[in-house]
Symmetry: C2
Subunit: 223 residues, 2 copies
């Protein structure tokens, strides 16, 4: 297995990355092919497809301790209170650490990179394959998915401290709102005084959450 | 990358395997986990999902000659007459040789193996990951797919030589018909006298094709 491309995305860290592709449709990322796969022939005809599959690697997983693969994980849906088999979840902590995302193809750039929308990947993510999305084989709207049948609905109201929103462009601000309204906190964090740091593009965004309100306190350029 | 499971399927060879998952919904295969991943905890809760993603390896690709990756392939849709970039197709001849299939979960067997429907994999296929199908993230019925927007429609009428169909059970015969009506021949084969050999389960099935009629000539047990 060798990466065929790497992702450039506004997410420098895992914290804040949407929990599935498509949940933050405004997020724009890029697929930059490695030199070996950068010839335009590799993507000839790809502009016919509105959506693509990306198979990628969870490269942000912690590997500080050599530990065996756990058979079960605690999906955030249950507030971390229930264990499910790793193959019954989309958890990143899985054998072979492969991710799978359906993304919108926005543009094939003149340099041969792809601009994609709605991706749930951090900056630097290695890509192992790209395939066209084929609705006749891949779209199963009637599929049953038990506890994960419904899209997680945004739960938080995003409020900006005075003068803070203006540090971003309107599109950046709308994207940040789309991401943060989905509540990026780990399951069952409830500490209204705690300040979280969300890295987005070249910014660090500080916020805290009290009840259903997320307060953005400050936006500064990352050093 | 290590296989977490292997597929048992009625397809001993690539010839005859449906060209995407779901095209032959009657095909039943099994996912047999390797010893390391056979503990039932790994699939705890999986029965809630009607469909699963399988990420697998195209292990039947020819590797007799060490050759560089071609940037383009000739999809069967165009009768082999048009070249498209490998990342704009689902061709098996691709970097990292990863396959992606949405399959129906039919049953979790008491031994912990999974019975799946509609898979497009040969017997012995290595499986690298299994994920639940999440309709809210994965089902995009409005996706545009250019030349591959429509499901390939079955093109052949399957006719049995007298006395031949009875060598199979009714379910086997219906499955064989569902597979063969989709025309497994390589693009632009048009040789009415040619006899093709299709391996299905423990049988070898000989047929020829004349115009839009596929004649099954004989069914015998494979040695």
């Amino acid at each position: 297995m060798q990466p065929i491309a790497f992702i450039r995305s506004p997410f420098a860290e895992k914290f804040g990355v949407p929990r599935q592709s498509g949940l933050a449709g405004r997020v724009v990322s890029r697929v930059i092919f490695t030199r070996e796969f950068s010839h335009p022939d590799f993507i000839r005809g790809i502009e016919q497809f509105s959506h693509l599959w990306i198979i990628w690697g969870f490269h942000c997983n912690r590997h500080d301790v050599e530990q065996p693969q756990h058979a079960t994980v605690r999906p955030p849906r249950f507030g971390g209170n229930q264990r499910l088999g790793v193959f019954a979840t989309r958890s990143p902590y899985r054998p072979n650490e492969l991710g799978l995302s359906a993304v919108r193809l926005l543009e094939v750039a003149p340099d041969g990179s792809l601009s994609i929308g709605g991706a749930d990947m951090t900056d630097g993510t290695p890509v192992y394959d790209i395939k066209p999305y084929l609705p006749y084989a891949d779209a199963l709207p009637g599929a049953q998915a038990g506890f994960a049948s419904e899209k997680p609905s945004p739960t938080l109201r995003v409020l900006w401290q005075e003068g803070v929103r203006e540090k971003l462009t309107e599109e950046q601000a709308l994207t940040v709102e789309e991401i943060l309204m989905q509540d990026p906190r780990p399951a069952y964090h409830d500490a209204p005084e705690r300040i979280y740091h969300f890295c987005f593009a070249s910014f660090e965004i500080d916020f805290r959450v009290e009840n259903a309100d997320l307060h953005i306190l400050c936006v500064k350029h990352r050093s």
